[in-house]
């Protein structure tokens, strides 16, 4: 029977089927971080259970870490305790930890791929919803809750009913200046925040084939924002050349064996999906969100939709301080945040650097750029990007989740407007009362220079960035 990429990977990890129940799925890679693991370790201890396969677990500290002065002790006592608890737990159970200060530390969804720990055909879990990022490599990767973190630690398996499958196809050529972030914001605005709930999505079509690995990660990262269990893209030469030679990637004979396996897991021509959605690349333009969930996105040049009936909608616009029917063009912005597991990879930083080089950020706003990992930070410095950012008046910080979520010290003040390259614009996500507008690194960089939202299509023509 014809099967999909998802079917093939799933099938290769099936340990057991429970009659009328979920399936037992073997997990190849389990990433953990300080926020969703302590209670799982405690569960194991309470039951007197060991960690079953410690070498398959990789830990890092990212959510709750400062992005300045990382060599100093963490100031905030609760954060410090959480990060220290992770270190103690990893030491006790002999789990590899990329702690604060380690050369490989960074946001969990940035370090996995860049270290070659994320591979095609794997099953990957982490107590974090954006684990979907790793699907960019053709892995089945999804976020789990803390109880499931404990399960995976105790048995290297989790119980999971097989989700339905959806294919999203985009054919055609993207317009100049349209980035992967715009593609996914566009998709979420079309599908809605629950449009893919219960489904695993495969992205296909030449738009994704032509995307870099960084771009594919940006797309898969936000699959969860349309409710999908995860998203994946078939591995191809782009994938293989990204992985080859990375620190933990297979080498020698192992590499050859892996490669021939990876080439066998494509979706068969006749494979059936529960849902198919097709979009036209030419319909996508630079996007921005105006509301309090990621589905509330528009093309920058469009006006905020009018919907006078819906109370949820009114509440959302009220929070944002926007009016129905108005344009965002010209709105003054207070902060620009470039970072997060969606857009803090080297390619994102390079793009921002090209835009802000020899320019200055506007006086009325603060601009922050936070690399996704120590490796990204080092590379940026090697390429001299740090100087470009600093000369443009950006704060170039140390690796971490930073202002993506209002948990660590980097927060956006109440009622301030922030154009952010992260993935969530929920009420209070970047700090109590903060107002988030999600956009691509390109739109964020242009906003930083202009101090307000501008129609970027004109800007792009002028700047000639994409020849």
């Amino acid at each position: 029977m014809a099967s999909s990429l998802f079917d093939k990977v799933w099938q290769a990890h099936l340990v057991e089927r429970i009659p009328k129940g979920p399936e037992v799925l073997y997990i190849d890679r389990h990433f953990i971080h300080e926020v969703t693991s302590p209670q799982a370790f405690a569960d194991l201890e309470k039951r007197g259970l060991p960690v079953f396969r410690k070498q398959k677990i990789i830990a890092t500290a990212d959510h709750n870490v400062p992005t300045e002065n990382q060599h100093l002790i963490i100031q905030e006592p609760l954060s410090r305790k959480q990060v220290e608890t992770l270190s103690e737990n990893c030491k006790k159970h002999q789990i590899e930890l990329f702690a604060l200060g380690h050369e490989y530390q960074g946001i969990v969804h940035v370090i996995g791929p860049e270290l070659g720990l994320t591979l095609p055909g794997m099953t990957i879990v982490c107590g974090d919803s954006h684990t979907s990022t790793h699907g960019a490599f053709g892995a089945i990767a999804f976020g789990i809750g803390t109880s499931q973190v404990a399960m995976a630690m105790a048995s290297q398996c989790i119980l999971q009913s097989k989700p339905k499958q959806m294919r999203i196809r985009i054919e055609g050529k993207l317009k100049k200046g349209v980035t992967p972030k715009d593609v996914i914001l566009y998709l979420i605005s079309k599908m809605g925040t629950d449009g893919a709930t219960g489904h695993f999505v495969e992205y296909s079509g030449n738009v994704f084939q032509q995307m870099s690995m960084e771009g594919r990660m940006t797309v898969c990262n936000m699959s969860i924002e349309m409710g999908a269990k995860g998203g994946m893209i078939a591995p191809d030469d782009t994938t293989f050349s990204y992985i080859r030679g990375r620190k933990f990637a297979p080498k020698g004979m192992e590499w050859e064996r892996a490669l021939s396996y990876w080439k066998s897991i494509y979706t068969d021509v006749n494979a059936r999906f529960h849902k198919e959605n097709c979009f036209d690349a030419l319909d996508i333009e630079p996007m921005i969100t105006y509301g309090t969930h990621p589905g509330m996105g528009i093309k920058i040049s469009e006006n905020i939709p009018v919907n006078t009936e819906d109370e949820n909608y009114k509440k959302s616009l009220n929070y944002m301080g926007f009016q129905q029917g108005e344009s965002l063009i010209g709105k003054s912005i207070d902060y620009v945040f470039i970072g997060s597991c969606t857009n803090a990879r080297i390619e994102d930083l390079r793009l921002v650097a090209r835009i802000v080089k020899d320019k200055k950020k506007a006086e009325n706003l603060q601009a922050m750029i936070v690399p996704g990992s120590q490796q990204v930070a080092r590379q940026a410095c090697e390429e001299g990007l740090d100087h470009i950012f600093q000369a443009a008046g950006f704060e170039f910080r140390q690796a971490g989740c930073s202002a993506c979520l209002g948990m660590n010290e980097d927060k956006i003040p109440s009622e301030a407007y922030c154009v952010s390259t992260s993935n969530r614009n929920f009420e209070g996500r970047q700090g109590p009362g903060a107002r988030t507008l999600l956009a691509s690194p390109m739109v964020a960089a242009i906003t930083a220079i202009e101090g307000k939202i501008v129609d970027v299509s004109r800007y792009i023509e002028k700047m000639d960035l994409f020849n």
Binding site: A12, V15, E16, K20, V24, Y26, D28, V35, P38, Q39, D43, R47, L49, F52, H63, N64, L78, K81, Q82, L117, G127, D128, S129, G145, T146, S147, Q148, A150, M151, A154, S155, Q156, C157, I158, L159, S161, P163, T193, D194, T197, G198, G227, F248, E254, R257, A258, H293, N312, K315, L405, G406, M407, S414, R424, F426, E427, G428, R429, P432, G433
Partner: protein, 200 residues
């Protein structure tokens, strides 16, 4: 895990859609290393103003509405995978959340913590909101064994469905770890056949 079989209770109406887990428990309260006391900060920024004063217009601060059932709009629990959201609801005293649609990870987290997510039709949900808002003493009856939700004392009912394995776990108070541990031999023989490059 606590057993769940049947519950008759009043319900607290929260007729908003897309309630995400950042609202249920904001990130700044996720610094704890234990599971306790998250209820204090349930819906923190909707319950309290920045100066810590209660917001009178929020339903949890309205003593007329109490109960162990939360009634919420569609796509409840979307966003972050934080299980702390389920802990906070449970710790606050909720045992059931009713909605016309639940986000996937939240649903799993709730079930793993003895909090029952009851998914019903949009039409019946509207009817429940109406019933509870017009008469605060309305009782709802949730029967897990029969998979039904009823407005007590009326013939208004709807069935809901739940994964049979999860249902058994809730009825008996079992959880998944016990089960997975019992499969150890199977898991080990699976590992022997599993390609080595996938399991570095």
């Amino acid at each position: 895990m606590k057993k769940f079989q049947r519950l008759i209770s009043r319900a607290v109406p929260l007729p908003l859609e897309n309630i995400d887990t950042d609202q249920i428990i904001p990130a700044r309260f996720l610094k704890a290393t234990t599971r306790e006391n998250f209820g204090e900060n349930l819906f923190r920024d909707w319950r309290y103003r920045a100066d810590e004063q209660s917001r009178e217009d929020f339903v949890l601060n309205n003593l007329n509405h109490t109960g162990e059932i939360l009634l919420a709009g569609r796509n409840f629990g979307c966003g972050s995978s934080r299980e702390h959201a389920a802990w906070a609801l449970f710790d606050y005293g909720f045992r059931v959340v009713i909605s016309s649609f639940f986000a996937d990870i939240f649903k799993g987290n709730a079930l793993n913590n003895g909090l029952l997510p009851v998914e019903i039709s949009q039409g019946f949900l509207r009817e429940l909101f109406h019933a509870v808002e017009s008469d605060k003493s309305t009782l709802l009856c949730v029967d897990l064994e029969k998979e039904t939700l009823q407005i007590a004392g009326t013939d208004r009912r709807e069935s809901f469905s739940i994964d049979p394995y999860k249902k058994m776990c809730l009825l008996k108070g079992y959880d998944d770890i016990d089960f997975l541990i019992s499969l150890k031999n199977k898991i080990e023989s699976f590992e022997e056949k599993h390609p080595s490059f996938l399991s570095l």
